[in-house]
Symmetry: D3
Subunit: 162 residues, 6 copies
C-alpha cells in the first residue's frame, strides 16, 4: 500500500491543487492533503475554513484525507505511514524552491521521498496569491477555484469593501 | 500494486541513475528500468551491453526489471501495466526539458503520470556524457559509476587509444 | 501603420505558432510570417511545402502575409517596412535564447525592436520537433497542428515506414 | 492606431524604464506610462511625486502620457483603448514573474495582449530598489536615473541622515 | 598579494559558508570574512554573536579575518586593500541575484571584481534560513553548521519554546 | 603568487573574452589563456590562427600567456602551477553549464578551484558563434571583436562567398 502526502498552505485550495490531488488519488492508495504551518495573521482563511473547503472540494475522492499539522512534513509522513511527499510544480521558480526543500527533507529523514508532478498547463499561473489578488478586485475566479471557494472569496472581499 | 517505469539511455548507467533506481525500488512495488530508442552510431555501448550492465548493477534489487523498447514511453508503460513514468532531475535545465516531455506524454496518454525525483546532490554533475568524457582521458570514474561500468569504460577507451 | 514580422523555421507550423499569428493579426496592421534560413537536409519539409501550409493555415487572416527569406531578420524587416520583430516564447529556455538574439539584432539595427509574446499555456510543449517526433510514431497530432499539417505529416511518415 | 500601456511602480523611474519608454514611443502611436497600485507606506515617493518625475523625464516624447490607476491593468487598458500591455524584462527572474502575470491578465481579458521588451544590457541591473539602495549610501546615481530623479533621491536621503 | 573579501549575513555561519572560506583561504593570501548591514530585528543573532561564531569556526585558518561593516561592500574592499569580492553560489536563483549585485558593485567601483565559487553539492540546500527553520523544530543541525553554531541554535530555540 | 587559467575555444576570441582577460590580468599575478580541445572540422579557425589572434589581442598585457592544450583543464592547471580555473559567465544558461563543469573538475582535482566572473553587460550576447553568424552575412563585427579578428573574419567569409 503506497501512501502519499500532498502538502501546502491551501489559502485557498485552487483548481491547480485539485488537479494534482485528483491525479494523485489515481496513482496512490491513500493521499493525505495536509495544511502545514501555524495560523498566521497574513492568511486570508483560518485553518478550519481551509480544511472545510478542501473537504468539500475533494469529497468525490474516497482515498483522499484532509488534515492539518504543525509538525515537520517528514515527521507527519512517518506518523501517517506515508513514504512519499508529493509536490506540484508550476514553473522553473517552483522547481528551484522545491528541489532545495526536497534536499532538506531528505537530510531530515531519508526514508521519505519527495516526488514532483507538473501542474496542468492551464493552471500554471494559478496560485492562491494570484487568485486572492483577482478576487480582491471583485472579478470572477470561477475557472480558477472550486465553486465553494469562489463563493467564500466573493463574500470575504465584499465584506472588506464595506 | 503500483508499478513505475524509469526510462533513460543508460549509455552507460551511472551512480546517479542507480541512486534513483534504489530509491524507486523502495517506493514502488515494481520498477522497470527501460532503455528507450533505436541503437545509434553515436552511442558508446550497444543496447545489449547496456542491458547487461544494468542487470549487474541492479541485481541486488528484487523488484527491478531491466528492459529495452523502441515504443513510445507511454505505450510501453501501458503494456507493462505501469501508471508512473519516473524521471530523475539534476538541475534546472533538466527540469525544463523534462517538464516539456511530461506535457507531451500527458497529451499522448493521460493515464500515465510523470513523476520527478531530484538526484542526490553528490551526483548532480554526473551524466553519462560527462562520465564518458572523463573516461576518455583515462581517468578514474570509480566514484561515478558502478564497478562493472568502470571496467567496461576503461577497456573501451584503451582500445580507442591503440 | 504598425507592421510586424513573425519569424521562424515553421518545419512545420504548429497550433502554437498559429496562436501567436492570430493574436498578432489583431494587434498589428500587417503581419509578415517569414521563414528564415537556407533549405537544409535535416528539415522534413521544403521551403515551398512550409509556405503552402502556412498559407492554408492563415488564409482566414487578411492582414497576414507568408514569405521566406535568406537575409538577416533585421534587413528583411527594413525591406518590408516593419519596425517590430515578433517572437513567441514558451518557457525559460526560449526566453534565454531569444533575449540573446534580441540583443544581437539590436546591435545590427537598432531601428527594429524585438517584442515577445508568451505562447498560450496549452501549447507550451508544442514545438515543431516534438510534433514530428510524435508523428513519427504514427500518433495523432490533430490537436497540435492545423489539419493541413496533420495530413502532410501522416503521409510523410507513412512513406518513411515503407 | 495602436495604443500601448507601460505599467510599473516607478518608485522612482530609472534610466532602464526610460529606455523602454523611448523605444515604445517610436513603435506605437500612443504610450500610456501608468503607475498601478495603492499608495503604500513602504514606497519612498508619493504617487504625485512619481507622476511629476515621470512627466519631467518624458516631456520630450509627445505621444507619451503619464497616469496613475488603482484598477486592474487590463481594465485600465480597455478604458484608454489600449490593446497592448508592455513590460520590460531584465533577466530570467523577471521573465518568470511576468509570464505568469501575462497569463493571469489574459484570463481576465483576452482582448489585451502582454508584450515584452528586453531592457538594454547596460540597464539590466538597474531596478528602482537597487537605485534607492545606492542612493541611501549617498552615492552618485546620475548614470542610473534621469537628472530630476537623482536630485530628489539626494535630497530624500540627506533628510533621512539628519 | 591578493586579498579577497567574502561577504554575507552569517546569521548564522553554516558549513556551506565554511566550505567557501576554507577553499578561499587556500587560493588567496588574505581573506576577510565580513558581515555587512545594520543590526535588524529579524535577525536571530546579534552582530557580536555572529562575529564570535565566525571566529571560532575559522580559528584554524591563519589568513582569515572576521569583521563587520555598515559600509558598501566595494568601499570596504578598498579600505582593506582587497581587489576581489568573493560570493558563494548554490543554485540558479543565487546566480541571478548575485550577477545583478556584481553589476551594481562594478558600477560603484570598477576596481573591485566580484568572483563566484560554487558551493559544494552536499551544502547546496544549506542556507542560514533553512538551518534556523530546522533548528526551530529542535532537530539536529550538526551536519549543517559548525559545532559551536549547533550549540547556540539549540539553546536559542529551547529558550523560545519555554 | 596566484596564477589563473582562463580556458575556452576562442574560435575566435571576442571582446567579451578580452574583457575577462583584461580584468583577470589586473587581479592575478599570471594569467594563462588556453585553448582546450582537439582541432575539429567544425571550427572556423585552426588552433594556430586562434593562438595568433589571441597573442595580438593580448600583447598589451604583460602577465598574460597564450597557449593550447589537449589535456584535461585541471591537469593543465597543475602543470603550469595554477590553482584557479577562471570562467566567464554571460547568462543563466552559461551558469548552469559551467557549474556542472566546475563540479566535474573538482572531482578530478580538488586542488584546482573554478572561479566565475560575469561578462560586462554590453558583451552578454557576444559569443564566438554569434559573431561568426553575423560575419557570415558580411556585416560589421568591429564592436564585437578585436580589430585583428574582424579582418580575418571578413576575409574568411569573402572567400566562402566566392
Amino acid at each position: 500500500m503506497v501512501k502519499a502526502v500532498y502538502s501546502g498552505t491551501f489559502d485557498p485550495v485552487t483548481n491547480g491543487h485539485l488537479d494534482i490531488i485528483e491525479r494523485a488519488s489515481k496513482m496512490f492508495d491513500e493521499v493525505y492533503v495536509t495544511i502545514f504551518g501555524h495560523p498566521t495573521k497574513t492568511a486570508l482563511l483560518t485553518i478550519e475554513e481551509r480544511i472545510d473547503l478542501l473537504n468539500i472540494a475533494t469529497k468525490h475522492l474516497d482515498n483522499v484525507h484532509v488534515d492539518a499539522s504543525t509538525s515537520l512534513a517528514v515527521d507527519y509522513c512517518r506518523k501517517v505511514g506515508a513514504t512519499i511527499l508529493l509536490r506540484g510544480i508550476r514553473n522553473t521558480s517552483d522547481y528551484e524552491y522545491e528541489s532545495n526543500m526536497a534536499y532538506a527533507n531528505r537530510y531530515l529523514d531519508s526514508s521519505v521521498e519527495t516526488l514532483f508532478m507538473v501542474t496542468s498547463p492551464e493552471f500554471a499561473f494559478v496560485s492562491s496569491s494570484r487568485v486572492k489578488e483577482i478576487a480582491s478586485f471583485h472579478r470572477d475566479v470561477n475557472d480558477l477555484v472550486p465553486a465553494c471557494v469562489a463563493g467564500v472569496l466573493k463574500k470575504k472581499y465584499e465584506e472588506k469593501s464595506l
